[in-house]
């Protein structure tokens, strides 16, 4: 006998109406959560909306890869969104670093209000230097209040890896913030 055979996939035909309903349901259930995460991963609301749109376009192209159930759907979409942002981050990282250097050199603190805005901006811009996955982990933990095991489950990585990213992320942010806040005072 011919022994081992790998049964790897089962392909089926799915009606267009089913796909539309599925994607619409995915969007309605998860777009707000994705937007909140996206907004905290990028600099502007427009970039956040673009990132959410790209995520759902990816879902449209790979609809059958999206698992069922709210938690699994969310995890899939979040991973796609973070990966898309990682790709953007790689492309723009060099340009942004040089822009930031110029901006810091041009920035002169004015009123208290302006100083506060500059300080907030400095804090938020410090996140730009983190790899998007690490940034997402820091945000989920510090701002969304998620535990390391919950983040690990969402991103399909180990809790140890999450804690490592948190530790490195905090260390990197603290270092950058100390330097930047010093510049804005």
């Amino acid at each position: 006998m011919h022994g081992q055979s790998a049964v790897s996939t089962m392909a089926v035909d799915v009606g267009a109406g089913d796909r539309t309903a599925r994607l619409a349901a995915l969007f309605d259930a998860h777009h707000n959560r994705l937007f909140r995460l996206a907004r905290r991963l990028v600099r502007t609301p427009d970039e956040a909306r673009d990132l959410v749109q790209e995520t759902f376009l990816k879902a449209a192209r790979s609809l059958t890869s999206v698992p069922h159930g709210p938690r699994d759907e969310e995890a899939w979409l979040v991973r796609v969104l973070v990966n898309l942002q990682r790709d953007h981050w790689r492309k723009i990282a060099v340009r942004r670093r040089s822009e930031d250097r110029l901006r810091r050199e041009e920035t002169a603190p004015g009123s208290d209000q302006e100083s506060a805005l500059i300080a907030r901006t400095a804090v938020w811009r410090a996140l730009d230097m983190l790899h998007p996955r690490r940034r997402a982990i820091v945000i989920m933990h510090e701002l969304e209040g998620m535990t390391a095991p919950a983040i690990a489950a969402l991103l399909s990585i180990s809790a140890i890896t999450v804690r490592w990213h948190l530790s490195r992320g905090r260390r990197d942010l603290t270092r950058v913030l100390k330097a930047r806040m010093g510049e804005t005072k």
Binding site: A6, D13, Q53, F56
Partner: protein, 202 residues
């Protein structure tokens, strides 16, 4: 003392900005739904083939004794019983445990079948990944309706693909299944043809 968390919360743009408007939300939703259109035009006209399960599984499918050519099929010896059942991952009343050949997992299957050989109007070997072959089956209108209704109510739960009484693979239903399916495996062309012919009772 100001913590990093305090700094991040203070700087969080979500605390100060409006989120998106209904128009912005609607535009993104429409763009995503519009992107579905190309998928509906699959390379195989009239049949949008999409994988519902990418199971990296290895099965020991015993079909060697059933390999034959179309020209010399012995109806009695050749027929392969094929059926699809709605399975569960946990035991329940009326279900029996069955080992999945592909994954060696255990699922629980009912006596009732959704579709079986009689619901299939066409089955043939088709090229699969690399140099392997798969078995494409097309269900009758009645079979397709049964499968569509059943899988619609069974999202996120496994189907049992039963060949000669053995559950060869148990993909999780991720989309409604209707008129056709492809059992995609590392079959040789002869094996795939044998299964296809056997399913049709040839």
């Amino acid at each position: 003392m100001t913590t990093l968390q305090d700094l991040l919360k203070d700087a969080d743009p979500l605390g100060r900005e409006a989120q998106w408007t209904d128009d912005q939300r609607g535009a993104i939703r429409e763009a995503a739904l519009a992107a579905l259109s190309p998928a509906a035009r699959s390379p195989r006209p009239g049949m949008a083939m999409v994988a519902i399960a990418a199971l990296a599984l290895v099965a020991s499918v015993t079909i060697g004794s059933r390999v034959w050519s179309h020209a010399t099929v012995d109806v009695e010896a050749a027929a392969i019983r094929f059926d699809v059942r709605l399975a569960e991952e946990r035991p329940a009343e009326g279900l029996r445990a069955a080992a999945v050949t592909a994954s060696r997992a255990t699922i629980y299957i009912p006596q009732d079948v959704v579709v079986s050989n009689g619901d299939i109007v066409e089955a043939h070997a088709v090229p699969g990944h690399a140099s392997t072959f798969s078995v494409a089956v097309t269900f009758s209108a009645e079979g397709a309706a049964k499968l569509r209704d059943a899988t619609r109510r069974h999202m996120g739960r496994p189907l049992a693909i039963v060949v000669d009484g053995k559950v060869v693979v148990a993909p999780v239903v991720r989309a409604t299944i209707s008129t056709s399916a492809v059992i995609d495996g590392d079959f040789s062309e002869a094996e795939a043809e044998a299964i296809a012919a056997g399913i049709l009772g040839r």
